[in-house]
Symmetry: C2
Subunit: 145 residues, 2 copies
DNA sequence: ATGTATGCAAAGAGTTTGCAAATGT
DNA sequence: ACATTTGCAAACTCTTTGCATACAT
């Protein structure tokens, strides 16, 4: 099992847009920078608030539209954790799962080859092939409370 | 790994309400029977439509309210699969995970002790204890398409 | 110059809630 | 009898969309 995340450069996401023939607008530049630099998993509203600080003209619609475009290109991932709104993170190529701290909402990433393999086996036994999957652990720090 | 579900009797859910000092109304009786007898994972609207057939006076609010009450008592589970609305199933005591057929939306239940154990290990390594978790495989039948 | 992206306001899906009337115990 | 539950409509949260204007290329 492994945990942690590598910071992707800001340019990665802009490159995705450029290569798709899409435009790098002032708003998108701001949003992408936040997404690439945050290292966390903000929802649309959080993104909007952070972006507004740098450019008060940005609208929530643009945040959503930008997320949609990036998601379609596979440049970001959209997660819908229990209950809450969708949260976004830059796709770092390697699939990983999430542990959500129930007190703080903080998200810890991890990856387990063994679990990945087991999932494949299970799907195969049931006669299926996996297209995608989602493993989320909701927990609290040990020795708290 | 194991798959399948056992049918719980209709009385189970009514008993939960009774023991909680809540009332068994005509509407609840209908909704609970559908839930217990369906063997599937209907969303609120599906539940509402099926219930309406037996009792056209039932409202969607009542479906939602009934789900909430049962969920609070741990008698049912609420799942929010990718994108869609919440879907409900009677809690059969033993935790299980889900494989969702992407073509049909059908849900197959399974349980893997090994995965359960691995999850615990991972959480422990990260310094957490698991409160709940969610493992969903999205796939398509092999040899199709 | 041209098509793309934007902000705004309105609409949409899913779910919850306030209220007065109905109903289970 | 009396608290609980109901149906209805309105409110709410999150997200998408139509449209006229602004902007990147």
């Amino acid at each position: 099992m492994s945990a942690g995340r590598e910071q992707g450069g800001t340019g990665d996401l802009e490159a995705v847009l450029k290569e798709a023939g899409l435009r790098i607008t002032r708003q998108r530049r701001v949003i992408l920078a936040i997404l690439a630099g945050g290292g966390d998993h903000p929802d649309a509203l959080a993104l909007f608030r952070r972006a507004s600080r740098q450019d008060p003209s940005i609208s929530l619609s643009t945040v959503y539209r930008t997320m949609k475009v990036l998601e379609e290109r596979g440049a970001i991932q959209r997660h819908t954790f229990e209950g809450g709104p969708a949260r976004f993170e830059p796709a770092d190529g390697v699939h990983h799962d999430h542990l959500i701290d129930l007190e703080t909402g903080k998200v810890i990433e991890f990856r387990s080859e063994r679990i990945e393999r087991l999932q494949e086996e299970i799907a195969a036994e049931l006669g299926y092939e996996i297209v995608s999957h989602r493993l989320e652990l909701y927990g609290r720090r040990r020795g708290e409370d």
